[in-house]
Symmetry: C2
Subunit: 432 residues, 2 copies
C-alpha cells in the first residue's frame, strides 16, 4: 500500500441542490474506491446553503451554514466545490478561495467561460488548482481528454453537441414532425428544458461550453463573447423534413476550429450528413468530436448534464486534485498562445436555404441571377409547390459567408420572396 | 510561465517501426506544445534497433544502437519507450528499466495483459511509473478515462469493439454479403489484417485488451488467461443476413462485467440490436462503452491502432509522466481488490442459433422438446427453406449458459441436424 494512505481531505461544498447532494452521496458511497485511487479519506465538512434551517436531505444538519466566511476561514478545508452557478457570488467565492490557496472544483460554465483566464492565472500564482470537468458535457471527460491525452495531437477542430435541451428538441421534431414550440413544450414536460429556456435554445449555454473547450484545446483565451451564436428557434418542421429528404439531420452544433494560427468558435444549427458521427447522437445525449493532425478523429459521447453525471465529474476532479500533491504544469490551463480570431464572414461554408416564394414564372431565374452576380454557386434546387406559394430548397457550393449573406440580403428584398429567409449551414462529413 | 520550464528529459526508444518513427517525429513537431504542457524539453537520445547499419529514416544515425545495455546504463535517460511488442525481450527490458527507476511507456498489450500485475508492483516498489495507454484502442484515451475520470463512477461493465481487423471483416461481410474468407482476403489487401491473422480473428488480441481494461476498471488482476474467447471464423454470411432480418448487426465484442463482487471477462461475436451504441461502429474503428452506477453510459470511439494514433497515445503518456514529478497514487494501477471470477456458464445470456436441419415433419417439435426439457425457452423461430434442407433461426429467452449448452449438445446429436451448430450471443441494448 502507498505510504500516505490515511491522509484526510476536507471539502467545503457551496450549494446543495441535485448535484451537490449527489457529490455528497458519491463521496460517501465510493469512499473505498476514492481512498484507493487518491490515497486520501475525502469528506465534506461544511456545506453552504441559503437557509440552514431548511431541510436538506442526506447530510447531517450540523454541516450546513449560510456563512461563506466560515468555510473560507476554515484552514482544514483545502478544497472548495462550487455548485451555485452563475457569476455572482460564485466569482467572489472562488477568487477568495484561490487567493487563500485552496483548490477549487466547479461545474460553472458561465463563470469559466467569462472569467476563466483570470481564475487560471490566479490559481497559478497561488500555486493551487482549479478544475472544471463538470462544466462541459456532464460525465463525458472531454476536458481531461483534451488537456491530457491530446497534448501532442495537434487539435485542429472540435465539433460538439453540448446542449442536451436543444438536442432533445431537434430529435423530437425529427421523430414526430412537430413544430419547434410543441417540441419545446414536450422538453419542458420531461424536465429537459427550463421554464425559461433562453440560455439553451439561443445557443448561449453551448457557446459557453465551446469557449471553454476552445481555450484549452488551442491554448488561447476564448471567452463567451468571442463565440458567435445562433439558436434553434427559427427552424421549422419543413426544414427538418427537407433536410431528411436530402439525407441530413439537423443538430445544434458547436464548432471550434483553427484556421492557420487563428481561431473561430461558433454555435449554429447545422445539417449533418447521415454518415457524420454526430448525426446519430439523439435525445439529451452530448457528444464531442475531436480532430487533430496526429489523430484522425476521436468521439466521446454520453449523457449530458444529469445530476449524477455532473456529480461524478466533480468527484473525479476532486480525486485528481488530491492525487497530485505537487501542482504540475497540467494543473493550469495555460493560454500561452494568444491567437487572433478568424472572422466568421471569411469562413467558407456550405449553405442550405429554404425560400418561400410566389409560384410564378421567372422566380428561380431572378434568384439565381442575384446569387450568380455575387459568385455564389448553387449546387442543387428542390422546388416544392405549396398552394399559391412555392418553396425553393437550395444547397450551395462552399462560399465565403460574407458573399453569401450579401447575396441573400438582396434576394430577401425581392417582392416574390414571401418570408425572411433563414439559411442553415451544412457539415458535409466528419472531416469538414 | 511555470518556474521549471527548461528541464530536459531524455528518452530511450526501443523499436523504430511505424509507431517508433512517428513517436520520434511527434516529439519533434509538437515540441512547443509539449514544452508548454509538460514543462520540459523532451527528446529521444537513443534508439534500440536490430541492425544499426540499416537505413532508418527520420532520426540521426548516431542515435541508433543495437545494445540495450547502452540505453539502460545511460543515467540521462529517464524514460524508456518500449515499442518492440511481444513478451521476449520486451519483458526483460522493461523489468530492467523499472528496476533502475526509469519510467516506462509501452504499447505492448500482450505484455501488460500477461505480466501487468508484476510490472505494476515493480514500478510501485521502485517509485517509478509504467504507462500503457497505447496498448488499447490506439488514440482513444480509454485507460486514462477509466483510471482517472471514472474513479468514482462505480464501473459495472465495459463493452468494447477493440479489434479493428475483425470489425473490418464483419463490416465488410455485412456490406457486401461476402463469406468470411473473402472478407478476410479483402482485409489483407487493404492492410487491415496480417498474413497470419490468428491473433485477431480468434479474439486473442481483443482478449488481451479486455484483460487490461477489466484490471484497471475493477481494480483486480485479470490476465489474458482469465478471458474466455471466441473468434469470428464460424460466422457465415447467412448469420449476417438473418441477423439483419431480425434487426441486429454482428460485432466481435469484448465484455467485462461485475456480477456482484465477481468478474467475468469474455470476447465473443454478438448480435447487437440496431439501437445499440456500438452497432454503428464500422470498418476498422474502435469503440468502448462504459457503464457505471453513477454514470449511465459513456462511449469513446475513434480509429483503432494506426501508427500515428498509437504514437500520439505514447506521447501523451510521456507528457503525463513528465508532468508529475512526484509519483502519486494514480501512477500505479493498483489491483487492491482480488476479485473472484464469475463463471461463464452461470451467466444469463440471450442466444441466437441457426440450425441446418432435414426438411421433414416433426423436426421443430423434436428440437423444441429437448430445449424444453432443459428449461430453455424459445422466444422466436424463423424457418427458412433451402432445397432439401431447412434452416431454423432461433432466438431464446435469457438462460444460464450451462443449461443452453447442455440442451444444445443433445440437439446436435439429433440425426436431422445436419451441421455443427454455432450459437451466437445477443446483446439486447446498451443497458444489458
Amino acid at each position: 500500500m502507498p505510504a500516505n494512505v490515511g491522509q484526510e481531505i476536507k471539502i467545503g461544498l457551496l450549494g446543495y441542490g441535485t448535484v451537490g447532494s449527489n457529490v455528497f452521496r458519491l463521496l460517501e458511497e465510493q469512499s473505498e474506491e476514492i481512498l484507493q485511487s487518491s490515497g486520501a479519506a475525502i469528506s465534506v465538512s461544511r456545506i453552504l446553503v441559503r437557509d440552514a434551517a431548511a431541510a436538506h436531505s442526506g447530510a447531517p444538519p450540523e454541516l450546513f451554514t449560510t456563512d461563506f466566511g466560515e468555510i473560507l476561514d476554515d484552514d482544514e478545508i483545502s478544497i472548495i466545490v462550487e455548485l451555485i452557478g452563475g457569476i455572482d457570488p460564485a466569482y467572489e467565492y472562488i477568487s477568495a478561495a484561490l487567493e487563500k490557496g485552496k483548490a477549487v472544483v466547479t461545474a460553472n460554465k458561465q463563470l469559466i467561460s467569462q472569467q476563466g483566464s483570470y481564475l487560471f492565472e490566479l490559481s497559478r500564482r497561488r500555486q493551487t488548482q482549479i478544475k472544471f470537468e463538470a462544466s462541459v458535457a456532464g460525465a463525458i471527460p472531454v476536458i481531461r481528454v483534451i488537456r491530457e491525452s491530446m497534448a501532442a495531437a495537434g487539435i485542429e477542430s472540435i465539433h460538439g453537441i453540448v446542449n442536451g435541451t436543444t438536442n432533445f428538441i431537434l430529435t423530437e421534431m425529427t421523430r414526430t414532425g412537430a413544430e419547434y414550440e410543441k417540441a419545446l413544450d414536450r422538453a419542458r414536460e420531461l424536465g429537459y428544458a427550463e421554464a425559461d429556456p433562453t440560455e439553451d435554445v439561443e445557443g448561449l449555454d453551448a457557446a459557453a461550453k465551446m469557449a471553454i473547450l476552445a481555450s484549452i484545446a488551442f491554448h488561447s483565451t476564448v471567452g463567451l463573447d468571442d463565440v458567435d451564436c445562433e439558436g434553434i428557434g427559427e427552424i421549422g418542421s419543413l426544414d427538418i423534413e427537407y433536410a431528411r429528404e436530402l439525407g441530413y439531420t439537423i443538430k445544434l452544433l458547436g464548432v471550434a476550429r483553427l484556421y492557420g494560427d487563428r481561431v473561430n468558435v461558433r454555435v449554429y444549427p447545422a445539417l449533418l450528413e447521415s454518415g457524420h458521427p454526430l448525426s446519430t447522437v439523439g435525445g439529451a445525449q452530448n457528444a464531442v468530436f475531436i480532430q487533430g493532425s496526429a489523430i484522425d478523429e476521436i468521439m466521446l459521447s454520453g449523457p449530458g448534464a444529469g445530476g449524477m453525471e455532473t456529480a461524478s465529474a466533480v468527484v473525479s476532479d476532486i480525486v485528481s486534485i488530491v492525487s497530485r500533491r505537487t501542482p504540475g504544469f497540467l494543473e493550469y490551463p495555460l493560454a500561452y498562445k494568444q491567437l487572433d480570431f478568424f472572422p466568421a464572414e471569411e469562413v467558407e461554408t456550405t449553405f442550405y436555404l429554404r425560400l418561400e416564394v410566389e409560384d410564378e414564372p421567372g422566380v428561380l431565374a431572378a434568384i439565381a441571377n442575384i446569387f450568380g452576380e455575387h459568385r455564389v454557386s448553387i449546387e442543387s434546387v428542390l422546388q416544392k409547390g405549396r398552394g399559391r406559394h412555392a418553396e425553393l430548397v437550395m444547397i450551395f457550393h462552399p462560399v465565403k459567408e460574407k458573399s453569401f449573406y450579401n447575396a441573400l440580403a438582396r434576394v430577401a428584398e425581392l417582392p416574390v420572396v414571401k418570408a425572411t429567409p433563414h439559411p442553415l449551414r451544412v457539415e458535409s462529413n466528419g472531416h469538414g
